[in-house]
């Protein structure tokens, strides 16, 4: 008999059982707890089995095993620039040329400046927030948000993954353990790359465990 009413708030039993199966497989590989325990933090760069997160093409009973974003330290450049932009109008009146502008005009330019700063911060935050890599028990999905006018979504079925490798490099990458995970797939599709993700070696271990389970 078909269901007359299915609550959207309840996870279907099939999702939970598939989730538990993957969790069990991950625990057998002796991965650290940060990869096997559920998380409710949605602003993190590493979220295993995230609650309340879904993506457009997700199957009804398809559990998200791992959600990754670039390491938070990759944001440091634009955060410093944003602080300088915020301080700009405070420092700039010291320059004699800008004192020639009428007061109202100067105020309007200040407002415009802060609005541009807001846009800059918003775009950079979205660039990090939506630059996501999702691993489910069926596939991997890579969403790259380059700018407000350009984004790229690529995915590959786990069965089509042929080779997984990772690279770490640079001063901060080595110290804080973040790097790039490359996934080579069968066919002519380009490789999928998870860039600057935390603990790339363990991410590869998770992928192998999910593929082999």
């Amino acid at each position: 008999m078909p269901d007359i009413f299915v609550s959207k708030n309840l996870k279907p039993q099939a999702v939970l059982s598939r989730q538990h199966r993957v969790m069990k497989a991950l625990r057998q590989t002796k991965l650290p707890a940060r990869f096997t325990n559920k998380t409710t933090n949605r602003l993190t760069a590493l979220a295993p089995f995230p609650d309340g997160v879904s993506f457009e093409t997700q199957g009804f009973d398809e559990p998200i095993v791992l959600l990754l974003r670039p390491h938070p330290l990759t944001n440091i450049g634009w955060i410093i620039l944003a602080i300088l932009l915020i301080l700009g109008p405070i420092v700039l009146p010291l320059m004699p040329l800008l004192n020639l502008l009428p007061l109202r005009f100067g105020m309007a330019l200040n407002m415009l400046w802060y609005l541009l700063t807001l846009s800059f911060v918003f775009e950079k935050f979205l660039g990090w927030f939506f630059n996501i890599f999702i691993v489910t028990d069926e596939r991997v999905v890579d969403v790259d948000f380059y700018s407000f006018t350009y984004k790229e979504v690529s995915e590959a079925a786990l069965g089509k993954i042929e080779d997984i490798s990772y690279t770490t490099g640079g001063l901060f990458g080595s110290i804080l353990d973040f790097g790039t995970v490359s996934i080579q797939t069968a066919g002519q599709k380009p490789n999928i790359e998870f860039e600057n993700v935390p603990y790339p070696a363990q991410v590869v271990a998770v992928l192998r465990a999910v593929i082999n389970q």
Binding site: R42, S54, E56, P102, R104, L112, L115, F122, F130, F145
Partner: protein, 71 residues
């Protein structure tokens, strides 16, 4: 009105208004992109992100009016 009577600030005001019109068009793209992204990937922050995009659009209109009427 001769060209010589136009002050440098009138010209500057014209360019600021022009920039704001372009910025308004850009913020419409931002709004659309945020809607697409939040429907592609749901995390519970959809409302907040949409509010920021709408606030940005509102501020552009407000600044345009301030520059147009009072500067």
């Amino acid at each position: 009105m001769s060209l010589s009577s136009i002050s440098i600030f009138t010209v500057l005001k014209f360019f600021v208004l022009l920039a704001l019109v372009l910025y308004f068009a850009f913020s419409l793209i931002v709004l659309r992109q945020v809607e697409i992204l939040t429907s592609t990937f749901k995390t519970g922050f959809e409302t907040l992100l949409k509010i920021i995009a709408w606030v940005q659009l509102g501020l552009i209109i407000a600044i345009f009016l301030i520059v147009f009427l009072f500067v």
